[in-house]
Symmetry: C2
Subunit: 318 residues, 2 copies
């Protein structure tokens, strides 16, 4: 936001930040007693959190959930599960995957086609994709997993945006077969990104390695309490899915009304084709969206939080 | 605590947990607006937190502060700054250092004498030590740093319990010379261990590597706000030092009154010689302290939080 203010110093404040894919409607934080801040989190509380996550995500037997202070910190740890070699990421996508693989010593590169992903010791796909929203079919995921297992490689499937639609294909059923690690994000769907909470789902041996690297007390007291409450609250999750779907449809209406082409996305963000200058036009109106250096005519737009924000976006695009 | 309840099922509740070295008087949490939980932390806020930490710890030019969700998660990252080799830890001490070095592929072992620490690619000392409270002199730290620099090795100095007495020798002045990383804990002195916040101080190149491994948004919104408030609050820090010193002196009085020998410690915990059975006797009274498998006649005891807790400890030892 600081960078946005520097770039558009004359924009009306406050800025409307539509540059992320975080739900604008947040899970209501449970009361946080002083002990949640003061004491080291109990290992039993973290174990309970992981059981609730396993139930929410429908994690199969033979796969275990590991809790972390956000999935971001897991990326270099997971990339280092294989010795330095070739890393391929289906892209263009979330750039942190290539960065993490490079940090772990791999020769890392985004490739544009499934056929170019293998052979590689580390294959990463984001499903549904960020920012395009493209979805890989269950058979495609299974084929990638089989290929990686045969080669002694690893398949990483980032399902950070998977919670908004539980009917999407998931790689979780593939985890018990080995060679597959799945990432799930807590903060995006629950609108609590500042808490820092995310999960890896991995076979037992890999899960134990990740837990050892994270150490005890990886998750903060506030994240433990909010995570436990939210992951046990199926009614809220169902209402959130309905809310996100409605907000995404409303956003599509605003975008189409302005003559923009919605190419795809997920219920947490839309991916659009927009004439050159749209990013700057929105920026001067105090609205920050996500631009891409390699796609000058495309933008990613998050969900406006309320009626006023929808109206402000519509006015800026009019 | 769950384990304590299982071991002493007849103990009176609630348990009094004196098994940690966390200050029982906590820094008052600042108000946490919804955005602290909802939004991704701003990089500029984390940079400000690191500047405040640098001021509090008197970090010299040429050394940079890196913020993490607790120092624990940094240990394997720091151990992996050198290729697998020999790791030596001055001990017996906090066991996580040997565990982290082993995880990073080192042949890791605790040794009892300074002379046995080198040669090693990774040398770790805890200063002041946990649990003995022993303090290494500035000259000793400087000699270890010089030796490690000459050998291309690394010296890690864990100053987790250094905040309670800022006059203690610190390795921070040695960081700009290279080959030295210092760890500082936020949660122990400020009584906010559940927040998960800690720091590494390292030369620029090493700091950049650690920041890359941690990724953006390593520190949660609540930890950022509380950390900024607490690290800027020198008056509270001074009052906390006085409070801890007084509580430690009072604890020494209770322990000596009971005929126990106080061997050392820091203002955040005391290290005592106690007759066999003292741990069990306290446990049956619902008081949990820290025992050591390798030191059956020694215990570490944290500060009782209030008059009632002091009285309960005195009664259990009477």
């Amino acid at each position: 936001m600081l960078a946005a203010r520097r770039r558009f110093p004359a924009a009306p404040e406050p800025f409307l930040d539509l540059s992320t894919g975080i739900a604008p409607r947040a899970y209501p934080m449970p009361p946080l007693p002083p002990e949640a801040f003061a004491r080291l989190p109990e290992p039993s509380a973290q174990a309970m959190l992981c059981r609730l996550a396993a139930a929410r995500y429908d994690v199969p037997a033979g796969a275990r959930v590991v809790a972390a202070p956000g999935t971001q910190i897991l990326l270099p740890m997971i990339a280092a599960l294989r010795p330095p070699g070739i890393a391929r990421i289906l892209g263009p996508t979330y750039a942190e995957h290539a960065r993490a693989a490079t940090l772990a010593g791999h020769e890392a590169r985004e490739v544009g086609a499934l056929a170019e992903l293998t052979p590689a010791s580390l294959v990463t796909v984001v499903n549904p994709d960020n920012p395009t929203g493209q979805v890989l079919a269950a058979e495609t995921l299974a084929a990638l997993a089989a290929r990686q297992r045969g080669d002694g490689g690893l398949l990483v499937v980032d399902e950070a945006f998977g919670d908004a639609d539980p009917d999407l294909p998931s790689a979780l059923p593939l985890v018990p077969g080995g060679g597959v690690v799945v990432l799930r994000s807590f903060g995006k769907f629950h609108g609590l990104a500042g808490l820092r909470l995310g999960f890896a789902v991995a076979p037992e041996g890999v899960a134990a390695r990740l837990e050892a690297l994270l150490g005890p007390w990886a998750v903060s007291g506030p994240a433990l309490l909010a995570g436990q409450a939210a992951l046990a609250d199926e009614a809220w999750a169902a209402s959130q899915r309905a809310h996100l779907a409605a907000a995404a449809a409303r956003l599509d209406g605003v975008l189409r009304q302005a003559g923009l082409v919605v190419l795809g996305g997920t219920p947490l963000f839309r991916f659009i084709q927009a004439p050159p200058g749209t990013f700057e036009r929105l920026g001067r109106a105090g609205i920050l969206v996500r631009a891409f250096a390699h796609w000058p005519d495309r933008l990613r737009i998050g969900l406006p939080p309320d009626d006023a924000a929808f109206a402000r976006l519509a006015a800026a695009l009019a």
